[in-house]
């Protein structure tokens, strides 16, 4: 089974005759015998997801890497983080997906108004199944815990993804507007409630 390992700012993907999907153009080197094929606009999830994605503007362009050997993947020297999924769901901004193993399913979840304001698309991507997904971020990712009575408010630009039973609300208040300034793009913040983890990167824009 394909194995993803984060190595500094490079992802090592070890293939044993199977397949992974990786962001188009992210391959920096390859050892062994690996075929690359554009997976098109798909990004997994079939026609239905592709259509939703087109409507939502959540763009993702992936390629199939098949064969035996090691593929080195990197994107703009951003930090790499590998998340193991065991049947649960990771919600993530599509621009942060570097690669994922074959068994995972990518789908689109409409996120309401948030996308309009953050310019990150109307929807977010959900990754479900058993396998590994590699994320890229500006600076290392912090996993912040959310529990009842322990809400978390996040700058939309610092938000990478989340997992667990979380609900995300848009917060728009005078307080927040004064924080980001008039006309500087982000009149909303994200408030997370419930149980789970929120992944936050260390750069706000």
């Amino acid at each position: 089974m394909a194995q993803l390992t984060a190595h500094k700012r490079v992802l090592h993907a070890d293939l044993q005759g199977d397949r992974i999907r990786a962001a188009s153009g992210s391959m920096v080197a390859v050892e062994g015998n690996v075929d690359f094929k554009s997976a098109g606009m798909g990004g997994g999830g079939g026609m239905r997801a592709a259509l939703k994605r087109a409507v939502a503007g959540e763009s993702i362009s992936l390629m199939d890497c098949t064969g035996h050997g090691r593929v080195y993947l990197a994107l703009d020297a951003m930090d790499v983080l590998v998340v193991d999924l065991a049947g649960d769901t990771l919600t993530v901004e599509s621009e942060h997906i570097l690669a994922h193993t074959e068994q995972l399913r990518l789908d689109v979840q409409f996120a309401g108004l948030r996308g309009v304001t953050s310019g990150q698309g109307l929807a977010t991507t959900t990754v479900t199944g058993h396998g590994q997904v590699a994320l890229v971020s500006e600076g290392p990712v912090m996993a912040l815990e959310v529990a009842p009575g322990q809400d978390l408010v996040v700058d939309p630009d610092a938000y990478v993804g989340s997992r667990g039973q979380l609900s995300m609300n848009l917060v728009s208040g005078v307080s927040w507007k004064s924080l980001v300034g008039e006309g500087s793009g982000e009149p909303f913040s994200l408030r997370f409630t419930g149980h789970g983890l929120v992944l936050v990167q260390s750069s706000e824009r």
Binding site: A6, A147, S175, H195
Partner: protein
């Protein structure tokens, strides 16, 4: 370039043990020396997420299957495990808020707790002390006051973040790189454009692209790489002698002179410490425009007109 002897990044800035304090790395690892690439370039941030005792395990407790930790760090953070007024990792600082703090707009990444953010402009009408502490009209619209209780995480473009403690001292820093400061400190605008001075006793957080380098005067610094200075007098501008010879004629005739960027340096004298960052990449500072514009009040109307014409000509040249 003379570094003070035995002065690694993060060490004592000077033999005298200067009171404004060295950056507190806080992430539990001696920072690298000068010769090394800044942390994070081809190297995982040292010690990021050293699990505090008892929190190294993924935290179960929310429904569904047991969640493995989100990252290779093997740790998750919550209000209890986040540090008090310390670095979470080299690029993120956690302010344990109880009361008020000044924060740069956009520096906040996330927060727990009950925190409100008020524009300095509005808050100062409610709280008189704010105007007394923040005496810089040029920068006032780029800052907010965070009030309440909670843990606020701040970051700046993924740059290195360091906290500095001032003890009845003064430190001047590039306004762009100042992220937050405690309200015990007083902020004033420096005579040098683009810089602000913090005076008093308290804590502030500043970013640097790469580790901070400490140097003692006499020293000439590239304006872009200059992060700030403490205790020594404000710098004068030094021009390269060769550049001067070539351009004196042009200056007499009134032209502004071409700039390659390297012929102009800031010249420091006296005693104190100079802070440098390893990068020269500058971000556009909106306050510089306001600053320069306010200076044009010195001009007579006809002078202002001819300056306007020159600026228009320059803008057209660049397009």
């Amino acid at each position: 370039m003379t570094y003070p002897p035995g002065n690694p990044y993060g060490g004592q800035p000077g033999p005298g043990g200067n009171p404004y304090g060295q950056p507190q790395p806080g992430y539990g690892q001696p920072p690298p020396g000068y010769g090394q690439p800044p942390p994070g370039y081809g190297q995982p941030p040292p010690g990021y997420g050293q699990p505090p005792p008892g929190h190294g395990q993924p935290q179960p407790g929310y429904g569904g299957p047991p969640q493995p930790a989100a990252g290779p760090t093997g740790t998750t953070l919550n209000p209890q495990t986040l540090p008090d007024d310390d670095n979470v990792n080299p690029y993120v600082f956690c302010v344990s808020l109880s009361g008020d703090w000044f924060m740069s707009k956009g520096a906040m990444l996330a927060y727990y707790g009950n925190v409100r953010f008020e524009a300095v402009t509005e808050y100062s009408s409610v709280q008189g002390w704010v105007a007394a502490r923040f005496s810089s009209p040029v920068y006032v619209q780029d800052w907010v006051v965070a009030t309440g209780h909670g843990k606020v995480l701040i970051g700046d473009r993924g740059f290195d973040l360091n906290a500095y403690d001032l003890d009845d001292g003064n430190l001047t820093i590039k306004a762009n790189n100042l992220c937050a400061f405690s309200p015990q400190l007083e902020l004033k605008q420096s005579i040098v454009p683009g810089f602000v001075t913090l005076i008093g006793t308290g804590k502030f957080i500043a970013s640097s692209n790469g580790p901070v380098i400490f140097v003692e005067p006499p020293f000439r610094a590239d304006p872009e790489a200059l992060l700030g200075w403490a205790d020594c007098p404000s710098p004068s501008v030094h021009h390269d002698a060769q550049w001067m010879t070539q351009n004196i004629r042009a200056m007499v005739s009134g032209a502004l002179g071409r700039a390659s960027g390297e012929e102009r340096q800031y010249d420091f004298t006296g005693t104190g410490t100079i802070l440098l960052q390893s990068s020269e990449v500058a971000r556009e500072d909106p306050a510089v425009l306001r600053l320069v514009e306010s200076q044009t009040q010195l001009l007579t109307p006809s002078q202002a007109g001819s300056l306007g014409q020159r600026l228009v000509a320059r803008a057209q040249q660049q397009h």
